[in-house]
Symmetry: none
Subunit: 201 residues, 4 copies
DNA sequence: TCATAACCGAGACGGTACGTCGGGTCTTGTA
DNA sequence: TACAAGACCCGACGTACCGTCTCGGTTATGA
């Protein structure tokens, strides 16, 4: 159905220009005013070139966002594993908070996240290309901890990932409170030790 | 500057018609195609009437959504408090999952949530009129548990709320996995008891 | 089929602005570059306003052209009838030549004529609103001459009109030679007296 | 500046394909939708091939049209000269009418004529390659008649040509009436004998 | 004989304009 | 004065072509 043109003839310069323009614009103007027309104009590129290679505005943003984290190219992300679960997770969760509050990343990530919220197609793209690999890494680190006997054996790792990162993501998306390192630490502690009052603690 | 029209002369019929039309349309068409023009046409209402009474599309959705949960009118929500924290929270968290998966509520809630993700103004509206009262109730229930010695004394209640509901919201928004009662229960158990492996458990 | 909006709500200012802009542009730029987009921009008018009220670019030109000859408003044109057929026709045919060579009229008339050449719909519009009334006047003047015994009784008046004006129009359209008063006079003389050599002439 | 490619290497097959495609398309679709892109696609030819060999769409049409009347190749056209001026002209004028009403020729001729109306460059092409030789032949036949004393000595031959063919062309272009053999005959009679009432006729 | 230069098909590219949709404002007539 | 209706200016949509520009591939000489 999709005529999908020959990628070998694709202009790398145009691709970069579009991605850069998208990133610039998503930070300059409110999301609702981000238009393909505007991206094309800023990138000095014909609109057709955009429509030829990207199926949606969200797909551009996704590519643009992936292009931001250039170094990781190719290899799947891996979480640090020093053996000290708490320290490792604290590091990573703080990094997550730092990313989410980085003004350079906030705008495109919000744009993507919002798009994913109401469009399952975009959600799938987002999951496959951005969140998925990262989630695998998180699950992997927790599995390692579980195997080392540091994590309860009966805990579903997907649940565990959501328990640690869910609160942070939720607070970021809903702006339901300040998103700080302190919050990250509190969440981590609570997630590991539980909310319940326990004697001998 | 704002003309702020006289609310006493407002047509209740038009208000209802707009809200109903918005709810119908948000379920019929993909969110991107939900237009004020379309709502006005469906509601047999002049566009000006909408612009007179609502500041944004999101505000319409919010009103429409509030109108859905009519019974709660006025009084602030309260969580059950039978003394059995686990049972109470399980009930409520399952109810949350039920709401989020109710096809009748899913569409407008997603629309609102997405709008809130990229627009801080909408996020505030959302927080004040929808999420806020509910969050207070959650915090209140947890405070009661804390006072009863069921919750660790040093736990920040906002962190606690996010630890319990954050994973559910996050999974809903990102569609990162199936959103089931079982998941709710797992999250609750993990949140209360922690992920960490502990002897004597 | 056509939704044809209510003409009573039409903005007279926009109408004028569009017509003026069209006339200006058709004289400034080659016809192929005359765009509705350009007319709308020049007229400071939304494109939709043009599409609402005119079915085609040619229709705009036609209205614009009719607006040029403002004085004639309403009343049908009449050719002079002094009794002296030759003098009357000479006057009118020279006026035709003058119009066709007037740089202010040449551009829009060519645009219209060309459009009419390949589009029968436009040709009909053109005939009904521009050429028709004028042709009636010509026929009427010739009929009067015929009744006065100045024109051969067996001549079809439509043929007669074409014999007098056809050569001029043809030369204008095809630029097959200089379009001068002298040419008009020669055509008129030849049309009245015929090409054939005759004794006693 | 112009690279002027080597004509000896030109692909005759491509030339034919373009000309054929142009003729087909000009008859299938309204002129405004006739695109070089479309011609190239139909002819299975690269766009560059068209741009290399033809300066404009009109030039393609002209070539295509000339290719239709293949037989006349090279030699200039000549009008019959039997000595009987009326019979000869009647024959030719009827043939003109037949051509103009031939549905196979009508579309490309209209396209060309319309293009010539608003573009003086095309008009020149048209005159030089199509109309010019024919006009010479007409003038030649009339000169012969004039020398034989059949045509008034003081008649300008260009005026004479326009007097005979102008009405027919004009009616064709403006569709101002039915274009029939009868009309041709009437025009011819009127042109030769004049419109004026004359005693002894 | 074979390189090498042209034409060729294909089609991506930066652009301009198309005709449509919707945004938010303003006007008109009715209740 | 609120309302239904809808015209208005404007900006963006996604598409069609423009004319230019590579890309391989195939002829078709001329070193």
């Amino acid at each position: 159905m999709a005529p999908t043109p020959d990628p070998s003839r694709r202009s790398a310069a145009s691709r970069r220009a579009v991605l850069d323009a998208a990133l610039e614009l998503v930070q300059e103007v409110p999301y609702a005013r981000l238009s393909i027309e505007g991206i094309a104009a800023r990138a000095r590129v014909g609109k057709q070139t955009i429509y030829r290679w990207w199926p949606s505005k969200a797909a551009i943003l996704l590519d643009a966002f992936l292009a931001l984290s250039e170094g990781d190219d190719g290899q799947a992300p891996v979480l640090p594993d020093t053996g000290d679960l708490v320290a490792d997770l604290r590091l990573v969760l703080r990094a997550t908070v730092a990313e989410l509050t980085d003004p350079r990343l906030d705008a495109p990530m919000r744009a993507l996240a919002a798009e994913a919220v109401h469009d399952a197609t975009v959600a799938e793209l987002y999951r496959d290309r951005l969140d998925g690999p990262l989630r695998d890494a998180k699950r992997q680190r927790l599995r390692s901890a579980q195997e080392a006997g540091q994590l309860a054996a009966d805990v579903d790792l997907d649940v565990a990932v959501d328990l640690v990162w869910g609160p942070v993501l939720s607070r970021w998306l809903h702006r339901s409170g300040p998103l700080t390192e302190e919050f990250a630490d509190q969440v981590l502690d609570a997630a590991l030790d539980g909310l319940r009052a326990r004697p001998g603690r």
